[in-house]
Symmetry: C2
Subunit: 190 residues, 2 copies
């Protein structure tokens, strides 16, 4: 998606060989108009009428998923990362390791909002090692629901997540795939 790639080139900041900061428009400050364009693009790439639900994970994924839901016209469910007193006790859970934060956390989805009748599109902001998506896939499996696809805003093509998920047969669409950083400059895959 050219508009997104332009923004990444203009505003993205690289740290070392692996970290890309895009917090000016994606995951700290949010450009809602860009998110609307991303929502259009996800709908184009996942045109299936079978999709009944969008599943994402807090926090940054929530904005991506909710604006996209205006296109898909299905509910969003976001997996929660910490046990809150207000969360339903009847939950699906999975463990996710975050390399970015250096911690392992539980993700949870209430059984009320995901069932075997659901056809789920997973949306998230970043795909690197694929651990967050694996946690969501585990939850979908526990619910007995179907996976219709996995939509990602920025995929780090030099990390294992995208390759692993595609090899397992999932339909993965990333709006921008980063090949690598060369001297701090961002190179995209074609």
């Amino acid at each position: 998606m050219e508009l997104l790639k332009q923004r990444i080139l203009e505003e993205g900041r690289t740290v070392g060989d692996e970290i890309l900061k895009v917090d000016s428009f994606l995951n700290h400050q949010i450009d809602a108009n860009l998110f609307r364009e991303m929502g259009h693009e996800f709908r184009k790439r996942f045109p299936s009428e079978k999709i009944t639900k969008i599943l994402t994970i807090e926090a940054s994924g929530i904005a991506v998923a909710t604006v996209a839901a205006l296109e898909f016209q299905v509910p969003v469910v976001f997996a929660k990362k910490t046990q809150s007193r207000n969360l339903d006790k009847s939950i699906y859970t999975s463990k996710v390791h975050s390399f970015t934060k250096g911690i392992t956390y539980d993700v949870m989805v209430s059984k009320r909002y995901l069932s075997k009748n659901d056809h789920v599109l997973i949306l998230d902001d970043f795909l690197a090692n694929g651990k967050a998506v694996e946690g969501l896939l585990d939850i979908i499996k526990q619910a007995g629901a179907s996976v219709e696809g996995i939509g990602i805003v920025i995929e780090k093509g030099f990390q294992i997540g995208g390759k692993m998920l595609r090899e397992k047969g999932y339909h993965v669409e990333s709006l921008a795939i980063i090949d690598r950083f060369i001297d701090g400059k961002i190179r995209f895959m074609e």
Copy 2:
């Protein structure tokens, strides 16, 4: 906002005298169309052209703020609750106590995304004791920015937050204000 009140009456579940669960459409599962209507309503209630930024707090506030930003046509900044390696070191911070979760946490906003030139609208999903909003107000003060208003989806009118903020002179608009629960039934303030 009648549409919202209807949904609260139809789907809200009360626990004891203080807890209202609206996770079927607001803070676990999300109805994006309802959020769009809420965005319209916030814009009507805060018509000022001076607003330059919407400030919210992860996680549930993000969806409210981002969809509303499509109306306001300004960037959203969401305060982060945990220190992540990817977050800029140059940050404003404040401490917030969550009665719901029984913990005190730090909220952080990068100095890049809030400055003395900003006119900020705070948006959040719930207002109870007002601790989260106080944390955001503290951050806005540190930035030297101006507060244009505080927009809330559901205010618990029987808790202190709304009263306290209005007495301090802030323009607070809540789309639904709950008076109290009577035998588990939800009563709104007029």
